[in-house]
C-alpha cells in the first residue's frame, strides 16, 4: 500500500485551506445578509428574471436595474437591515457599464431562486 508523501500533504493542505476559506466566505455575515435580502425580495425579483434575459445595452436596462436594486433595498429595509447605498450604487454603475454584469446577475438570481421558493404575493 502506498504511503502518504510530503507532496500529497502539501496538496491536501492547500485544498483544505482553500475549502475552508471558501466556506468562510460563503458564510460571512455579508453573504448571508445578501442572500437573506434577496430571498425577502424574491416576490418582486422573480417576475423580473424573465425580462432580464431580453435586456440589451439600451435605456430599458437602466430602468430595470433600478427596479431590481430598489427591490433589494426595499427587502433590506423591511426587516431593518441597513441598506448599503455604496454597494448598491456600485452595482448600478456596473450594470449600466456592462450588460454582461446584468446577465451574471440573472444567473445569480436564478441560483438564489432555485434555493428558495418565491415568497407568495400579498
Amino acid at each position: 500500500m502506498a504511503s502518504v508523501t510530503p507532496r500529497m500533504v502539501n496538496r491536501l493542505g492547500g485544498v483544505a485551506e482553500s475549502t475552508i476559506a471558501a466556506l468562510d466566505l460563503l458564510t460571512s455575515p455579508e453573504i448571508v445578509e445578501l442572500l437573506s435580502t434577496l430571498q425577502r425580495a424574491s416576490a418582486v425579483l422573480t417576475p423580473l428574471l424573465g425580462q432580464i434575459a431580453e435586456i440589451g445595452p439600451g435605456a430599458g436596462m437602466e430602468g430595470l436595474a433600478e427596479r431590481v436594486m430598489n427591490a433589494v433595498a426595499a427587502g433590506a429595509n423591511e426587516v431593518g437591515v441597513p441598506p448599503r447605498p455604496v454597494r448598491v450604487g456600485e452595482m448600478l454603475r456596473l450594470l449600466r457599464q456592462d450588460p454582461a454584469v446584468a446577465i451574471a446577475l440573472r444567473f445569480f438570481l436564478g441560483f438564489v431562486r432555485s434555493m428558495w421558493s418565491p415568497v407568495p404575493s400579498e
Partner: protein, 381 residues
C-alpha cells in the same frame, strides 16, 4: 458607548484574539461602537514550529510566512509599528513612528525571543532552530554533515518544550537515512536530573533515546561555549566536546514589559493563571509566551488562551462583565519521534500528560496541520 480594544503583538496569540473578537462583534465594529486594533512590529507572520522542518530540508521558508494583513478577519485594523511603552494609568501605548494609541482594554501578546547574551560564545559556536536564520544556518550545516559528534543543549525557559526531543529523534533517523549513523554520536543534554521537565515525558523520552543509542547527559546547564576548541561548558563543571553544537537558547520576554515597568524578571508579565489578567491591572490581559505562568510556551497554549480571553473580552466590551471564562492550563504538543512517526501530549494545570505510542497517522496529521495552520489564525477553524 465606544470601546477600543488594542492588542499588542501580531503572533499566534495576538492574531487569534483579534480575529475571534472581530468575528463575534462584527456588528458592533461595523456600527463603530467597538474598535479592534492590532499593533505589530512585524507585518509578516512566521509559523515558528516550521523551523524544525526547515533545518532538515523538509519545509521551505516561504511555506511558513504570510503577510499579517492577509490573516486578519474583517474589522481588525492593523498598525505596523513597534510599541515602546505602556502608560497603564493614561490608558495608552506609545509607539516608534506614530501617535500614541489609546485603549479601553489592552491585550499583551508580545511573545518571547532568544536570550543569546546569557551564554558567552553561544552566538558564535552554536546552531539553533528557533529563528528562521538559525534554522537556515543549521540546514546548511546538516547538508554537509558526514559524521561526528552532535551535542544538543537546552536552556530554560524556552518555547515548545518538546522540540529538543523532536530534533534529536529526527536527527537520529536522518543520519540513518543518509548512511552516516555509524559515524555519528548523538548527545542529548538537559539542565535537570532527567530528560524532560515533565516527569512522564522524561520517562518516556529516556527509553526512546536509549533505544536509539543516544547518550543522555543530565544536569547540564550551559554556561559558555568555546567555539575555537569546540567545547560546551556547563555550570556543573562538565565539558562536552562537539563537532556540531545545537543549542536551544533560553528565552526572555519582550522589552516592552521592562520599559513599562509592568514585567518581572525575564520580562515576563505577572499574569493571573485563570483570567489571564495582568496583576494589579483591571484593563490589561496577557497571553501566550509573554506570561509568567508555569506552563509551556507553545502555540497551542496561545490558541487555547485566545479562545478563553476572546470570550471574556466580548463580555467586557459589550456588557462590562468581569472575566467569566477561566483558562485551565490546557496545552497540546505534537512530538515528532522521527521522520515518519509522531505522538502527542495533552495536559493542563491539574492533569499531567501521558505519552501514547507514536504512529504514522499522528505524524501526517501534524504535517497537514502545519499547512492549514492559517485557518486557525484567521479563526475560521
Amino acid at each position: 458607548m465606544h470601546k477600543r480594544l488594542l492588542i499588542v503583538g501580531a503572533g499566534t496569540g495576538g492574531l487569534m484574539v483579534a480575529n475571534f473578537v472581530a468575528r463575534d462583534l462584527y456588528l458592533e465594529i461595523e456600527r463603530g461602537d467597538i474598535d479592534v486594533t492590532l499593533l505589530g512590529e512585524q507585518d509578516t507572520y512566521t509559523y515558528q514550529p516550521g523551523f524544525l522542518y526547515v533545518a532538515f530540508d523538509l519545509m521551505r521558508p516561504a511555506q511558513l510566512m504570510r503577510p499579517v494583513r492577509e490573516l486578519l478577519a474583517p474589522g481588525v485594523q492593523f498598525i505596523h509599528d513597534r510599541a515602546l511603552r505602556i502608560d497603564a494609568g493614561g490608558h495608552q501605548v506609545t509607539r516608534a513612528q506614530g501617535e500614541p494609541l489609546a485603549y479601553d482594554v489592552l491585550v499583551l501578546a508580545t511573545g518571547s525571543g532568544l536570550n543569546l547574551e546569557e551564554v558567552p560564545g553561544m552566538g558564535e559556536g552554536a546552531h539553533w532552530f528557533y529563528t528562521l536564520d538559525g534554522a537556515l544556518r543549521l540546514r546548511d550545516a546538516l547538508r554537509h554533515w558526514q559524521g561526528g559528534r552532535l551535542v544538543l543543549t537546552v536552556g530554560v525557559p524556552h518555547k515548545c518544550p518538546v522540540a529538543p526531543l523532536e530534533f534529536t529523534m529526527m536527527f537520529e533517523e536522518w543520519t540513518r537515512r543518509r548512511g552516516v549513523r555509524n559515524k555519528t554520536e548523538i548527545v542529548y543534554s538537559y539542565p535537570l536530573g532527567r530528560a524532560h521537565s515533565i516527569e512522564s515525558v522524561a520517562d518516556w523520552a529516556a527509553s526512546e533515546l536509549e533505544a536509539r543509542d543516544v547518550k543522555i547527559e543530565t544536569f547540564f546547564n550551559l554556561e559558555s561555549v568555546d567555539p575555537e576548541h569546540r567545547v560546551a561548558h556547563a555550570l556543573e563543571g562538565t565539558d562536552l566536546s562537539y563537532d556540531l553544537l545545537v543549542a536551544v537558547p533560553a528565552h526572555k520576554g519582550d522589552d516592552l514589559g521592562a520599559s513599562s515597568q509592568l514585567a518581572e524578571a525575564g520580562n515576563w508579565y505577572p499574569t493571573d493563571r485563570q483570567s489571564l489578567r495582568l496583576h494589579s491591572q483591571e484593563d490589561i490581559f496577557v497571553l501566550g509566551d509573554a506570561t509568567n505562568l508555569p506552563i509551556s510556551k507553545a502555540g497551542s497554549v496561545a490558541h487555547f488562551q485566545a479562545e478563553v480571553l476572546a470570550d471574556n473580552l466580548v463580555g467586557l466590551l459589550t456588557e462590562g462583565s468581569p472575566p467569566f471564562n477561566h483558562y485551565n492550563g490546557r496545552a497540546f504538543c505534537f512530538i515528532e519521534t522521527g521522520l515518519e512517526r509522531a505522538t502527542f501530549i495533552a495536559f493542563d494545570y491539574d492533569h499531567p500528560p501521558t505519552v501514547p505510542e507514536p504512529t504514522n497517522a499522528v505524524h501526517w496529521f501534524k504535517q497537514t496541520y502545519n499547512r492549514i495552520h492559517w485557518a486557525n489564525l484567521k479563526a475560521v477553524m
